[in-house]
Structure formats: structure tokens, C-alpha cells
Amino acid sequence: MAQVVVVTSGKGGVGKTTSTAALGAALAQGGENVVVVDFDVGLRNLDLVMGAERRVVFDLVNVVQGDAKLHQALIRDKRLEKLALLPASQTRDKDALTSEGVARVISELREKFDWILCDSPAGIERGATLAMRHADVAVVVTNAEVSSVRDSDRIIGLLDSKTEKAERGQRISKHLLLTRYDTARATRGEMLKTEDVLEILSIPLLGIIPESQEVLRASNVGAPVTLASPTSSPARAYAEAARRLKGEQIRVSVPAERSGFFGKLFGRRAVA
């Protein structure tokens, strides 16, 4: 039974696209058949983060409008054969997506893949509501920062009212993915703690992704961080989050940078 997952946040720049790519790759690395779908029509970026920007021919809008077949638009990942990308259109706008068209594409994808990860655009407009529309599961990407938490709260409200599942009276399962987390700052009281965010938003925790230079490095080279540097702390955190998404029970911890305690003590030397 295929799972449709929306990766959403309300606020922009919190790490939706990074998380979609990393979770998608992690699931595929675990043997699942995965497609990541970019819903950010007009401002596509998932292709770039996945390193497939030069291979885009057709896109989601072409398929929704019937100008191209689904298999023509899907781009197979060169590193992971079980990972595919359905890019968004760069030249159209969000109104090019119709509700019926998206429903048809999602149901076609359900037949081909185990996991369909929908990368939502920021905001609460049409693009975002269409991305969440058919989801079974939502990953709410949040930073430990007031505006991000407020926007996530708003998105959770929409997930509980505007999705197909909600309209049928069912509950969509929602998970919090705390990204760009800085344990040291949270410990010093400079940043909201995980418990604070969890208490305010009241949804279960899928994972904590530490702030890391590896994320930018991965997007620079066009690879999900779980592929670009699999042993890095964000990659390990994403890999564990992907396993939790599959239903595994793993205790949530904040993976430390590889240097660890002694590395921090002798930080300079460790780097040199």
C-alpha cells in the first residue's frame, strides 16, 4: 500500500526541499521504491538539490494537463535506481495545477511506488493545499524559531481541515521534523528547546536534524545529504527519521557532529 507523504511547513527556507530529498533518498537506500514530487510550480528547486536539473524534459504541469505521460516526466536517479523525481514546471504558475489533474497523477504514482513524497511550496495558497490534498502522512518541517513554529501551527490546522482524509472524517498522521537545530544554543537558552516546540505543536517527533555545513555542501554538489555525506550528523538524523516514517521505533536523539566530545575539546586540532 503506497504512502503519500507531504513535506510542508508554511514558512519558507526551513528545509522542506532538503528534507524531501534526504528522506526520499534514505527510504530508497533502504530498498523502498520512492518518488519525490516537486509541487513548487514556478519556483522549482528539488531538481537542483537532487542534481537532476539538466535532465528535466517534462514536468508535473505537463502531466497534469495531459501533454506528457507520467513515465516521460519521471527522472530516475543516477545513483539510486529506486529513486525517481517528478519535477515542477519553472515557467508556469500554480494555477496551472488542477485539483482533478493532481488527483489523477497521485493515483497513478500510487500504483508505481511505495512512497510518494510531495515537496510543498511555502505559504498556504493553492500550491500548498494541492500538495497536502491527497496525503496520508504529513511531515511538518519546523525550525526552533517563533515565526516557523507559528506557521507550522497554521499548517497543522490546514492538514486537519483541507486534506481529503480530514474531509472524510479521518485523521491525517502528522510528524514534526525539527531542522537546523543547534543543541548548544538550545542548552544555553538561546533557542527554543525540542520539548518547547513539541509541547506547543503537540504532534509526535519524527527527528531532529542538526544545523550542519554538510547540508549546504550537499546542495552545492546536487545530492541529497544522505548520499553526499552519509556519515555526517544530518545524514544520520535523516536516515533515522526515514526509518521512523516506516514505522520503526527508534529513540530520537540529536546526532552529534563526528568530532564528538573530544573533538569539541580539541576542536582546532581535530579540524587541522
Binding site: 524559531e145 517563533v146 513554529v149 507559528r150 501551527d153 497554521r154 490546522g157 481541515s161 538550545a186 544555553r188 537558552g189 538561546e190 533557542m191 527554543l192 528547546k193 518547547d196 506547543i200
Partner: protein, 90 residues
């Protein structure tokens, strides 16, 4: 002034937490964007306008979202000898 004060000054996270809790308690109550303040203002003005002439430009509405109570303050200038201030709590 002392080290302790310096240390405390950095602890902004508890402030963030409290601000969010108060704000979201209010935002969750207002479901689907129905604007309670606008509705209240309109109904209160209509009630008063039945009895005295009210200049709509001379109405001041203030809202302070707090915990555990919020205050809604509506100041209406009434162009006669009497001046009225309507204040509601809740």
C-alpha cells in the same frame, strides 16, 4: 552588572516560548479567519448608533491578547455632553 545578569540576558528562548503559547492559544480559537474583533466592533457600534450619532472615524479599537485574559477596548467619541467609553473583557 554581574555575571549572573549577563547569563540571564542570553536566555531569550523562554520569552519565545511564552509569546508563542499566548499567541497560538488565540489564533487557534479564531478558526477559519473569522474576525471576532471586527464583528464585535460592528455590533457594538450598531447598538450605540441606535441611540446617538457616532462618527465612525472617531472610534478606537484596542486589543491586548494576554494570558489568562485579553482586553478589548473600544473608545467611541459621542458628540454631545455625554462621553462614553465601552470596554469589554473576555
Amino acid at each position: 552588572m554581574n555575571l549572573f545578569a549577563l547569563f540571564r540576558r542570553r536566555e531569550s528562548a523562554p520569552v519565545a516560548r511564552e509569546r508563542l503559547q499566548v499567541l497560538l492559544a488565540h489564533e487557534r480559537a479564531v478558526v477559519g479567519g473569522s474576525d471576532l474583533v471586527a464583528v464585535l466592533q460592528e455590533e457594538i457600534l450598531t447598538a450605540i448608533a441606535k441611540h446617538v450619532a457616532v462618527d465612525r472615524d472617531k472610534v478606537q479599537v484596542k486589543l491586548d491578547r494576554g494570558d489568562p485574559i485579553s482586553t478589548l477596548e473600544i473608545d467611541i467619541e459621542v458628540p454631545t455632553l455625554m462621553r462614553a467609553a465601552v470596554a469589554g473583557h473576555g
